[in-house]
Symmetry: none
DNA sequence: GAATCTATGATTAGGCG
DNA sequence: ACGCCTAATCATAGATT
């Protein structure tokens, strides 16, 4: 008997591996569900068994279906890639729709960020209310917004006959902002830097 | 001390919950990676912390990027839900685009399956070339196709004055097909080369 | 609050039916 | 191959710094 220390390495013996797999999968799912209920977070575990195309997924009661749906939506495209190559124009259609969707999302995001910026400047929102998962995009929006603001300010100045030196386009930035921008940056940038709008 | 039996229920105390979350998340990731290496399976764990739009994901070295990519495309929509609630019509636009995309995919799949069926019947393709991901859909297409074929056949029969008994709508199926339907094909059958009909 | 420690509960490898 | 059992390791709640 005397159980050894369990070396973490691929189990070559098939039956042992399978047994271990079943036990550990069960344990894992339990852990996932516990984490979910104890801490009130959406959690999900995905196990792709070899020789089985569908992954085994543990869903938290709430978000699971959604996550699964999200997950299942895209692979269909890949599945199709392996199929008869006829009617590829349909795929092009889909590609187009996807690109359009992506474009819409990006646009939407920018709009919302811009709006948020305005709210910050107006003191209606704090930067602390915001999740900094995409600093690159945010910096872009900050830049764009400040350009707009400065150009308007300069318009006003020249109308008034007084010209601001405008040493930096960032001069109107709330100090708290520049301080906070690079904090808490998510390691994950934008998914597909295919196009800079 | 004497640790109690640990009731699995939402931990209301914030600091305790956070502590538990960190400990358990660490443990969970360890478990996931162990399962992955011990049993040689692609595994992935996703934890959506509240107030953080990006889920924390543990990826298996190989499949991770792919899963992550798939996973990152859609959640953006949800991320936005937590943001300033302006411009929700844009979101509706996106939803619409998503639905349309999904519809297109489904349609495409059916078209391709149907086409593949015809090629099988014409002997231009073997069922071995095909991945049986989705037998339900496939059965649907088989049924639809056979109905069409049989109705045409019956039309011809009545024109010729000879009437086939047509005991089963499946009688026109190539025997090789029924034999192979439930065997699992090779996981890869690209056929990407320009195979014209 | 975060990091570390430690005793106890939880998980699971290995054995057996 | 599957489920149950038991001992041994592992994970972690609670305490401490």
């Amino acid at each position: 008997m005397t159980r050894k220390k369990v070396v973490i390495a691929y189990i070559t013996n098939e039956s042992r591996r399978k047994a271990s797999f079943n036990k550990r999968k069960k344990g894992l799912i339990k852990k996932v569900s516990e984490l979910s209920t104890l801490c009130g977070v959406e959690t999900c575990a995905i196990v792709y068994k070899p020789n089985e195309p569908e992954p085994e997924v543990w869903p938290s009661q709430l978000g699971a279906q959604v996550v699964l749906e999200r997950l299942h939506m895209l692979p269909q495209v890949d599945q199709m890639k392996r199929m008869v190559n006829q009617e590829s124009f349909k795929r092009q259609q889909i590609k187009k729709a996807e690109d359009e969707l992506y474009r819409l999302r990006k646009e939407n995001k920018h709009k919302e960020l811009e709006l948020f910026m305005y709210r910050c400047i107006a003191g209606k929102a704090s930067l602390r209310d915001f999740d900094w998962h995409d600093t690159i995009d945010m910096n872009f929006v900050i830049d764009e917004t400040l350009k707009k603001i400065n150009s308007r300010k300069n318009e006003l100045s020249s109308v008034n006959g007084r010209h601001h030196s405008a040493s930096s386009s960032y001069e109107v930035v709330n100090p708290a902002m520049t301080r906070d921008v690079h904090r808490n940056g998510s390691p994950l940038g934008p998914l597909n830097s295919s196009n800079t709008i």
